[in-house]
């Protein structure tokens, strides 16, 4: 049976076909759809959102220990969070087969860095596979699970954005049930105290030696010979790009099993061709091996060290020019940066905090990161998921050493899902070490940026089970915070007062929670009860009253636009969802914006 699947969907299909019984992940582009699609195999696979990548991996480890084939998935930076259990799992090994998916982002379409997670395989000493297509994404899950069980190791499954999000035709099969393995208590295997971990360390090296034999034999690494002039070594989507450019005019060594690398196959291939190109995104991972074998090659000395190695990039590097284009000067193009949606509940907070001059805002990863730019300019720094509270605390401690205008209050900003991910740890640290940091939790009742995944505060699980909503205000209070306030961010007066109150609380930490659903969220019955009438109104502007002052435009709502000729603002009716933020900022003497009368 043929299906058109993305790489992510194909991994889900592969997990189902290979008898996986437990899957977990924390959402992150471009890996999110793996678990969303595994979740559809309800009854066959338990699929869950873990609270963060480390927890997700640990639950998959537990499932493996108890005897199930398991899988966990994350984006590249997510593996940083989960790297602690990974490195020791490499020692203890598995019971049921276990696959660890890392979805890297060459080109940084939706990420804060471009790290190459192939380096994790080498550092953690775990075998790695790299699919190039959707078909391989499905097929390699099965192979990875077999390798995992044969060699008693987790297997790293390295994808990239174009593998995850590209669709191709996939020949699908049926599910093969794999019986749960027996659990036998074995502390020598599963408890890495030094007395046990020292022999484990030796075992890992012996395992790698065996894998070095396997990587030479597996059909995942193969050569396609088309003469001896040009030889290309590539893995993942770079192989497809290279085929697009060179077609049958080059020979290829296509690598699908990339840790350990097949040194013998690489040596044989390089010896047969005159000119060697190593085409890979990010780091010179394969190239370094080729050079260590004593072969000269074209690699990062020819191809860019960053970005995607798409066919045009390869053409420019190898032939000096890409395909002919029509040639446009770009003068008719205005930038289209992503923006907070019309009706986004983050708008009210950022509009108000953006006016404050004496604050530094520690941001986090989510839609709200967009507030760093115009018109809010309401973010000073951001690092990784959950970093707002930690960085804010450290900065506050140091700003408190300063005097006068150099002294600032620090505001940590993150969302509901990010709170449970890891920002909660930094908040506990604030409670413990007592800085007067202000923490703002933008609770929009869902994980927004990655496309609406449930989280511990939303009341539902990935597979749709109702679960008690973990109430953020209650959690915060239980940590010992005395100054906690929940506000509706669309009520600008309440929002402004809350910020003033927090700033006036000079000697103690305080926490503000804004609670209003994401405008794109599919409302649960609980949302419908709590946010009755939300997003059902429309606002309009009386052009006779509008003076074109632009106060409403400064809220950054994409439903508003200012006509420079007439100096009047108008609302795109289709986009307006009636949050009413624009009406509240229209000067009291003007009052040009009002609710449409039904």
């Amino acid at each position: 049976m043929k299906k058109l699947l993305t790489g992510d969907e194909a991994v889900a299909r592969g997990a189902w076909e290979a008898g996986v019984k437990y899957a977990s992940a924390y959402p992150g582009t471009p890996s999110t759809e793996i678990l969303e699609n595994i979740a559809l195999y309800k009854g066959d696979i338990i699929a869950e959102w873990g609270t963060n990548e480390k927890v997700a991996m640990e639950t998959a480890i537990g499932a493996s220990i108890a005897g199930a084939r398991s899988i966990c998935a994350q984006k590249h930076v997510g593996l940083n969070v989960a790297s602690d259990p990974l490195f020791t799992l490499a020692y203890t090994g598995i019971n049921g087969g276990m696959v660890v998916v890392t979805a890297d982002e060459p080109g940084q379409h939706s990420s804060q860095n471009e790290q190459d997670n192939r380096n994790y395989a080498k550092a953690a000493k775990v075998p790695m596979v790299e699919p190039a297509t959707a078909q391989e994404s499905k097929d390699m899950v099965k192979v990875a699970l077999e390798v995992s069980e044969a060699f008693d190791t987790p297997v790293l499954f390295r994808m990239t954005t174009r593998v995850c999000h590209s669709k191709g035709i996939v020949e699908c099969g049926e599910r093969q049930e794999v019986p749960l393995k027996d659990y036998v208590k074995d502390v020598r295997k599963n408890i890495p105290v030094p007395a046990n971990a020292i022999p484990m360390r030796v075992k890992v090296e012996a395992r790698t030696e065996k894998l070095k034999v396997y990587t030479e034999e597996t059909p995942l690494n193969f050569a396609e010979m088309n003469g001896s002039e040009i030889g290309i070594i590539a893995s993942g989507v770079c192989y497809s790009y290279a085929k697009e450019v060179f077609g049958d005019s080059a020979s290829y060594l296509k690598l699908g099993f990339t840790y350990p690398l097949p040194v013998g196959k690489i040596r044989d291939f390089c010896a047969k061709v005159k000119k060697i190109y190593v085409i890979e995104e990010n780091d010179p991972y394969i190239e370094d091996q080729v050079r260590m074998l004593g072969f000269d090659c074209f690699g990062k000395n020819l191809f860019p060290f960053n970005g995607e190695m798409t066919p045009d990039v390869i053409r420019k590097a190898v032939f000096g020019k890409a395909c002919e284009t029509i040639g446009t000067d770009g003068s008719k193009v205005v930038g289209r940066p992503p923006t907070l949606c019309a009706g986004c509940p983050h708008r009210g907070f950022f509009h108000e905090i953006g006016k404050r001059k004496n604050v530094a805002i520690a941001g986090d990863i989510g839609c709200y990161t967009l507030a760093f730019t115009e018109p809010y300019n309401a973010m000073d720094w951001c690092n990784c998921m959950g970093s707002s509270t930690g960085t804010a605390h450290g900065a506050q401690q140091v700003f408190n050493l300063k005097e006068g205008e150099a002294k600032k209050r620090v505001v940590a900003v993150h969302g509901d899902s990010t709170f449970f991910h890891t920002a909660i740890n930094g908040l506990i640290n604030i409670a413990y070490n007592r800085s007067n940091t202000i923490t703002v939790i933008l609770d929009n009742r869902i994980t927004g940026m990655t496309g609406h995944q449930e989280n511990p505060a939303s009341g539902y699980t990935l597979q749709g089970m109702a679960t008690p909503e973990i109430e953020i205000e209650g959690v915060v209070k239980s940590l010992g915070f005395k100054n906690v306030l929940t506000v509706n961010p669309n009520d600008l007066t309440a929002m402004k007062n809350a910020i003033e109150w927090a700033l006036a609380t000079e000697d103690e930490p305080s926490v503000l929670i804004t609670r209003w659903p994401c405008v794109l969220k599919k409302f649960s019955p609980e949302d419908k009860a709590e946010f009755k009438g939300a997003f059902t109104e429309k606002y309009c502007i009386d052009p006779d009253k509008c003076i074109g002052c632009g106060a409403c435009i400064k809220t950054g709502c994409p439903a508003l636009s200012l006509d420079k000729a007439t100096k009047k603002v108008s609302i795109t009716r289709d986009q307006c969802v009636g949050c009413g933020v624009c009406a509240q900022v229209c000067p009291p003497k003007v009052q040009a914006i009002s609710k449409e009368v039904k």
Binding site: H109, S110, G168, T310, V333, V334, L340, M449
Partner: protein, 189 residues
């Protein structure tokens, strides 16, 4: 010979559904097909592209600059943004529709004028008032399928079994509407 169709627009315009219908129909007709798109941050009102490639055997899932046989822009300015992806011998289907980006909304710059004229001066261009046509059908959301109709006609793919493809891939209640929209789009070329 591999053909490449580039669908571009603004997040939320339905380029992904249009590309999905296209890829399913192409697979159904026996082609090898690959499609690539970027999700994530760009969805939030940003510029988006769905790239469809089909033929006997397709390698790269992405279209390179100068590689598209047709550029289908769901929004006017996006046609200009992605024009360099078109082959010099390629053609354009453009929706005569403006979505202002933030620098335009805030009044910093104006929405560029004369886009359709400039496109027409450079390449064979079909401009379609998909919004008007969609509202005539009674649902502004079928703008994407109208544009898909124009695309498949332009690429000579109008003989594929579209009625069945649509019936199998959209909600039953919306199938008839979408079939009408597709036919209306085909009639524009």
């Amino acid at each position: 010979m591999t053909k490449s169709i580039m669908l571009v627009g603004v997040g939320g315009q339905g380029t992904i559904l249009a590309a999905k219908l296209l890829t399913v129909a192409l697979m159904d007709a026996g082609y090898d097909v690959k499609m690539s798109e970027i999700h994530g941050m760009s969805q939030r009102g940003g510029s988006v592209s769905s790239q469809v490639r089909y033929g006997k055997e397709v390698h790269s899932p992405v279209i390179e600059e100068g590689g598209a046989d047709i550029l289908v822009a769901f929004e006017k300015m996006e046609a200009m943004r992605w024009l360099n992806y078109l082959k010099p011998s390629g053609k354009v289907v453009v929706n005569n529709w403006e979505i202002k980006s933030m620098p335009i909304v805030t009044g910093k710059v104006d929405y560029p004028k004369g886009i359709i004229e400039e496109l027409q001066s450079k390449v064979p261009t079909t401009a379609i008032d998909a919004a008007k046509l969609a509202s005539e059908l009674g649902n502004s959301k079928v703008m994407n399928v109208i544009l898909l109709g124009a695309t498949v006609k332009s690429m000579g793919l109008d003989t594929l079994d579209w009625e069945r493809i649509i019936k199998e891939n959209v909600k039953p209640a919306l199938a008839e509407l979408n079939i009408k929209a597709l036919k209306l789009g085909m009639a524009q070329v």
